[in-house]
Amino acid sequence: MEGPSRRTRLLVIIALAVHTLLIACYTLPSRMVPELLRVQAQRYVRPVFHQQWRLFAPDPPTCSCRLEMQQGDGPWEPVEIQLRHYLARRMARSICHHLGSSDSALEARLRPALHRLMAVADDGTVHFRRVERCVLDPHAPDRREEHVRTLFSP
């Protein structure tokens, strides 16, 4: 099998350079990328090559996020107790973080999602709340302040 011609190699190098440049412009901190390039990168990358590398970056979240559930008049319990699979626990965490945006439309969309995840009927007998524990001093992060918000309240 013959190797590619010089012209083909040149085309490959150009394609790779453009692709990598656009991926970099899409994923690097926005401060480092000119606006025009960022817009072009979004057009190219988002539909097929979407990726973001901001896990715990630029800073780890200073507030932990936990969903708790109460059935009837029972005690409040973290939903993760009932979710054994790591992907189910990840969905619960994801819902918890999304619910932090105070977007009522998003909350309405996530309400059935959370009931579905926990396999409970949305008939008013099960209640959910969101518990955040926030770092007060980064040098003593184990001392945290708790904030509780009831979810899906009428």
């Binding site: 083909t8 990598t20 970099a24 979407h50 970056a57 992907l87 996530l110 999602a113 980064p138 992060p141």
Partner: protein, 276 residues
């Protein structure tokens, strides 16, 4: 700009095995992820997005089990046989459909896998063990290699923009978050600070260190430890595994040939392309 053929062969097999393993480990919650998904459907903008997110574009959700089976079969095929461009295409399409259907359970690892699977299609254009790669294979192979470097560089540069990574407090904050850990690290502030800076230095230097054999191997060994730790304490095992899969195209040809022989793949990898 030649590529190590055996390293790429091992990468292809490992990538398919990764998808297979991901699908199999997700089966206990397949109902929540895909069949009657927890994730709400997002509006689809049409065009090429319809290709990667077909359920949002109108494909009935009842088709999810079929998509799952096709994806698993394509992954199984490529784990034990040389993948073809069409089996790679099926795998990329199927994986993307499933990933979008369960985006609440998504992670950077799944996004990385999606990108690697895309470039695996041109990589599969050609016969097993080419003496020289075709233009499409060169494009696929190098795009896969560079993707790993962009991931490390991007995350490191984002961390440099914050306060807690450069200040050395990031890992203590993560360790005291009840969703992560390890909690004991918070009681050892000096170790936590050194580990924070070590992670930052590792991610920042990896895109350079990987180009030279003398630095590549130690950096990859540190990477294995780092990703194993994230798998255990951050709850992202599939992300850790896909990063290690992405290391394979950077392995030297000699090391990969020895590994291929051990795995009984040496026949498929004969006629190795020369490495620069």
């Amino acid at each position: 700009m030649n590529l190590p053929a055996t390293s790429l062969l091992l990468f292809q097999r490992a990538l398919h095995a990764w998808v297979l393993l991901y699908v199999l480990t997700a089966l206990p919650v397949a109902d929540l992820l895909w069949f009657d998904p927890v994730t709400p459907l997002l509006p689809n903008k049409g065009g090429i997005q319809a290709l990667v997110d077909p359920f949002a574009a109108g494909l009935p959700r009842g088709a999810a089990p079929t998509v799952l089976v096709l994806t698993a079969l394509a992954a199984l095929f490529g784990t034990f046989r040389q993948a073809t461009w069409w089996s790679s295409l099926v795998l990329w399409l199927g994986f993307n459909a499933l990933m979008h259907l369960s985006f609440l359970a998504s992670s950077g690892g799944l996004q990385l896998a999606s990108n690697l699977l895309f470039w695996n299609i041109p990589l599969a254009l050609g016969t097993a063990g080419p003496k020289r790669f075709s233009g499409a294979q060169l494009l696929g192979g190098w795009a896969i290699r560079l993707q790993l470097l962009v991931a490390y560089a991007a995350t490191a540069l984002h961390k440099l923009e914050g306060l807690h990574w450069t200040g050395g407090t990031a890992l203590r904050i993560v360790a005291t978050d009840e969703a992560f850990g390890p909690a004991w690290l918070a009681s050892m502030p000096q170790l936590a600070t050194i580990s924070t800076w070590a992670i930052l230095a590792f991610q920042l230097s990896f895109p350079l260190a990987v180009w030279w054999r003398r630095t590549r191997v130690p950096w990859m060994l540190v990477g294995v430890l780092f990703h194993a730790a994230t798998a255990f304490w951050m709850g992202v095992p599939e992300m850790a595994a896909i990063f290690l899969v992405a290391y394979l195209p950077w392995m030297g040809e000699r090391t990969s040939s020895a590994n291929a022989t051990r795995l009984g793949l040496s026949g498929a990898a004969s006629g190795t392309a020369p490495q620069q």
